[in-house]
């Protein structure tokens, strides 16, 4: 009797080595590597007058100091990853700045030395003469256009995009009620516990480059390095080993070090390593979430939204390497689970003198959700209606799928929700939330969201049964803690009828699987998970065909159970998978592992050559999955909070989540993803704030002052599920990685407004911010 692994709370197979301290993170690789340190701009905007590295180069233990002038690619702009016709003024930085710096933390020089300690000493000796320029730090200042971030970008506008469904103007004019609202969401930082790191080795003899990179996309890094250095891709291997959290910013490429470390390794015939420190992580790693929205909504007396117009500016930062994906997602996801018959959205992507932006867990959605949910709350207040009831009246109903929203989506298609049941999410959340706790200053908050997950273009997988009967599987996308090795072992084990412990998964290693895209957009389970399913099924079919000859049975009478191919109904007639693997590879020489059974005098004679036309040796297959469109996960969060009326301390009394990511592969892993996401959302809503001053200096670039929550700030979270399988993929799964974080800001704003009576229109909050709002009210 074979267990079905899909859906079971299988404990993680990757834990043992991580718990013993035997994980392999990029900084753990050494091999006598030279170590590096950046010289970074202390100014948010300045002209570089001169760079003098003479003293640093003379220091004992220093191997080299690179400035832009020292690099063959020093004058080349880094790639603009996702071009878009509306991105009319896309700009990317150079590997090392030569003439102008546009954010504090931008790389100017790179020191390579015998140790990190010496490299840091030498970096102090690099003398850069700057001429400071006026700083544009907020998106509002960028829009005012008094100063320019790029001289050749008028008004600091990188991109503008306008979309409309229906007739917003006419509907607004005819609407019984109209309301204008303004919302502001500040920048935030993902802050994985492991910063970024790169290790590289060049083997001059066979012209091979080997790179370990704490990245979410080793396959793309490999492609880019091959182009830059003029090497065939097969001469470049990129491995994302254990990665200590990603949450988005590690999908960005290329950070300057990702080119400089491999280049230095090629120049100096030694392995080279660079490991980021926490302070530079705060300024040199991409951030997200800064947006200012101006909404006009028209609604009827029952609180139904008739038309919604949103005009927002997006804080893009100093460069646009990741294109305009973030505001595209915000624009697309703003209507969320609600029927908005007339919707117009315009955004402008603004340059500011701050760290560039690219997706951070949630990617454009937390702010979009905040705007929509706050708007519904405002409608409820205006009409003296219950907030839950207003939501219920606007929700898309379970029978309306597929539901077309009609605006552009990040994969080039338009938004079409594949499946869902939003009213049930809401009903369950309210039931699970229970009655309001007694006492003063208690508020209730609620938020519903949808999340486009499982974005293409594709992922692939390789699955092989070894002659031992064990199974190895590989895919290109790396794990940053999402338990890929466990959940894909579950998918493969089901198809091959083996124990989950007999499947060993490698992910994010181009030596094992060279094709693919990356880990982002809650896409791993959908893309790589289904690719694993496809590849494993191909292996199962092959096993049946080989076993059919051996067992003298028809293919359709065979099944894979308990590690063997067996005749259905006659469990004693079977052949172990390991033996099938032997037979799959006709050999001349027996090399152990039972392979004598596949030699020429031992194998059962059959017609024709040992490998028939079209047959390939080995019990293995490579499969791909390319989604026809995104899958759409959804969820409803609700909470009770208490806000101390004097200190404005926040106490989260109860927090419930009802979540729908289609079919659940592993509930244990899913629970961890949601709990972690909500915690990150709570941090972003009430504790963490990137405190930029008017000069563009991040004043709290340390964990001492950037208040990431400890255990003491995170309450227990009660999680419940519904499952609306996705009709788009064989496994019926949707993604789950980002879900937890998306509505938290909206939920806490709603609850705090309910508790305090102050209108909450911005994120993040803090006790100080609530105190300021209370003073305004007085």
């Amino acid at each position: 009797m074979t267990t079905r692994w899909f859906g079971a709370p299988v404990q993680r197979v990757e834990d043992d080595r991580l718990l013993r301290g035997h994980g392999r993170f990029t900084d753990d690789f050494d091999e006598g590597a030279l170590e590096c340190c950046f010289v970074r701009s202390p100014y948010a905007h300045a002209r570089i007058k001169s760079i003098d590295a003479t003293a640093a180069r003379r220091m004992p233990g220093v191997v080299a100091v690179y400035t832009a002038a020292d690099l063959p690619f020093g004058g080349v702009d880094l790639p603009l990853l996702i071009p878009h016709p509306n991105l009319t003024h896309g700009r990317t930085q150079r590997c090392l700045a030569a003439e102008r710096v546009r954010y504090a933390g931008e790389a100017v020089a790179f020191v390579i030395a015998e140790s990190r300690y010496l490299a840091e000493d030498a970096a102090e000796l690099v003398d850069v003469d700057y001429d400071p320029l006026p700083v544009v730090i907020t998106p509002e200042a960028a829009l005012a256009g008094e100063h320019l971030v790029h001289d050749d970008v008028p008004g600091n506008v990188a991109a503008e995009m306008l979309q409309e469904v229906g007739d917003v103007e006419q509907t607004l004019q005819a609407a019984p009620h109209r309301k204008r609202l303004k919302f502001r969401y500040e920048r935030a930082a993902a802050s994985p516990m492991e910063g970024r790191a790169v290790w590289a080795r060049w083997s001059a003899g066979d012209r091979k480059l080997m790179v370990y990179d704490s990245t979410q996309s080793p396959t793309s890094i490999r492609g880019g390095l091959a182009v830059l250095f003029g090497l065939p891709e097969s001469n470049v291997e990129v491995i994302a080993p254990d990665v200590g959290g990603g949450f988005g910013p590690k999908i960005m490429l290329f950070y300057p070090d990702e080119l400089l470390v491999p280049y230095a390794a090629m120049q100096h015939a030694r392995p080279v390593k660079w490991t980021e420190d926490r302070q530079e992580h705060f300024t040199a790693v991409n951030q997200e979430r800064g947006q200012v929205h101006e909404v006009e909504v028209g609604f009827d007396a029952e609180g139904r939204v008739l038309a919604l117009s949103d005009d927002f500016i997006h804080d893009g930062g100093a460069y646009t390497p990741y294109g305009i994906i973030l505001p595209i997602i915000s624009a697309a996801q703003l209507p969320g689970p609600y029927r908005i018959p007339n919707y117009r959205v315009r955004f402008r992507d603004m340059y500011t003198n701050a760290t560039p932006t690219s997706p951070y867990r949630g990617a454009g959605r937390p702010h979009a959700c905040f705007v929509m949910e706050r708007t519904l709350d405002a409608i409820a207040v205006d009409l003296h209606l219950d907030r839950v009831e207003v939501r219920r009246r606007n929700l898309i109903q379970a029978g309306e799928f597929p539901y077309e929203v009609g605006v552009a989506w990040q994969d080039g298609n338009t938004v079409v929700y594949d499946s869902g049941d939003y009213p049930t999410l809401l009903d369950k959340a309210i039931a699970n939330l229970g009655p309001k706790p007694s006492g003063d200053n208690v508020g209730m908050g609620i938020g519903i969201y949808v999340e486009g997950t499982g974005v293409g273009p594709y992922e692939g997988a390789h699955v092989q049964v070894l002659v031992s009967g064990k199974v190895v599987a590989a895919t290109g996308i790396p794990s940053q803690g999402q338990a890929h090795a466990t959940v894909w072992a579950q998918v493969v084990a089901d198809e091959l009828g083996v124990d989950v412990g007999d499947v060993e998964v490698t992910s994010g290693d181009t030596r094992r699987f060279p094709w693919g895209v990356g880990t982002f957009a809650s896409r791993g389970a959908v893309t790589a998970g289904n690719a694993m399913h496809v590849a494993a099924r191909m292996v199962a079919d092959k096993a049946k065909h080989i076993a059919a000859d051996h067992l003298e049975a028809a293919v359709e009478d065979l099944e894979l159970t308990d590690g063997a191919v067996r005749v259905k109904g006659s469990p004693d007639r079977g052949i172990p998978l390991g033996a099938v693997a032997v037979l799959s590879n006709p050999v001349r020489y027996a090399f152990g592992g039972g392979t004598e059974a596949a030699t020429q005098f031992a194998a059962q004679p059959r017609e024709g050559p040992p490998l028939r036309d079209g047959e390939q040796p080995g019990l293995e297959a490579t499969g791909y999955y390319s989604p026809p469109g995104s899958t759409w996960a959804s969820g409803c969060h609700a909470a009770y909070v208490r806000v101390d009326p004097k200190t404005f301390r926040l106490e989260i009394l109860r927090y419930v989540v009802v979540h729908d990511c289609g079919r659940v592969i592993n509930p244990l892993v899913l629970q961890g993803q949601i709990e972690g996401g909500v915690a990150q959302g709570i941090g972003g809503a009430f504790y963490e704030r990137l405190a930029y001053d008017a000069d563009g200096q991040l004043r709290n670039a340390s964990f001492m002052e950037f208040l990431m929550p400890y255990a003491t700030e995170i309450p227990p979270i009660e999680i419940d599920h519904i499952e609306t399988p996705s009709p788009l993929n064989p496994l019926g799964v949707k993604g789950a990685g980002e879900a937890g974080v998306i509505p938290v800001g909206a939920v806490l704003a709603s609850a705090i407004e309910d508790a305090t009576g102050f209108p909450i229109t911005e994120m993040p909050l803090s006790p100080l911010k609530l105190y300021e709002l209370s003073m305004l009210k007085k």
Binding site: Q11, R12, E14, D15, D16, L18, L19, R20, G21, H22, G23, R24, F25, D27, D28, D30, R116, Y117, S191, P192, M193, E194, G195, D242, V243, G244, G245, F247, D277, R278, Q480, G481, Q482, A483, L668, V669, Q671, G672, E675, G676, G677, V678, A679, Q680, S702, F703, M704, M708, Y710, A711, T712, I714, P716, I717, G740
Partner: protein, 168 residues
């Protein structure tokens, strides 16, 4: 200094941090460095049985002391330490980067308080940052570790243990 029961020479370079010494000189890379300013707790090791931040101490300051790192909790091939086992069972780790620091903090906590109160547990784990789990599973793991005792590492007459820990 003694590291995981083995006598080791202190480094010549007096400015070397203990965390860097453990990782890069002794190859004990299970001790992680998350912030280098003593806030995140990833680099937590036991010094004479009590948890400390190895990024806030110079390696030479550890001369004459006994250190236990994550690698010293369970020998290769042997069963996991109860705290490690509890983290596994409760899914109390995702990326695994903060995990060694958390495990060492909890080992230290349970050595000091074999039956901690809820408040003591909360304080015991609130000096370490985790960005993946949201802490709920880590709390569960502490409770599970208490069930899985006796804890082999030091504390209130529970025996010699791997490194003869216990507060001095």
């Amino acid at each position: 200094m003694k590291v995981n029961g083995v006598e080791r020479a202190a480094p010549d370079d007096t400015r070397l941090l203990l965390s860097d010494h453990l990782r890069h000189e002794l190859g004990l890379t299970g001790t992680h460095v998350g912030c280098e300013h003593g806030v995140c707790g990833c680099c937590t090791v036991l010094l004479d049985g009590a948890p400390i931040r190895s990024c806030l101490m110079l390696a030479v300051q550890a001369e004459g002391h006994e250190l236990t790192t994550i690698e010293g909790l369970a020998r290769d091939g042997a069963a996991l330490h109860p705290v490690q086992q509890a983290f596994h069972e409760c899914h109390a780790l995702q990326c695994g980067f903060c995990t060694p620091g958390f495990v060492m903090s909890v080992v230290g906590l349970l050595a000091q308080h074999p039956h901690p109160t809820t408040q003591q547990i909360e304080e015991g784990i609130s000096g370490n940052l985790c960005r993946c789990t949201g802490y709920a599973s880590i709390r569960r793991a502490v409770h599970r570790a208490m069930e899985l005792s006796p804890l082999p590492l030091g504390g209130e007459g529970q025996g010699e243990g791997l490194q003869g820990g216990g507060r001095k």
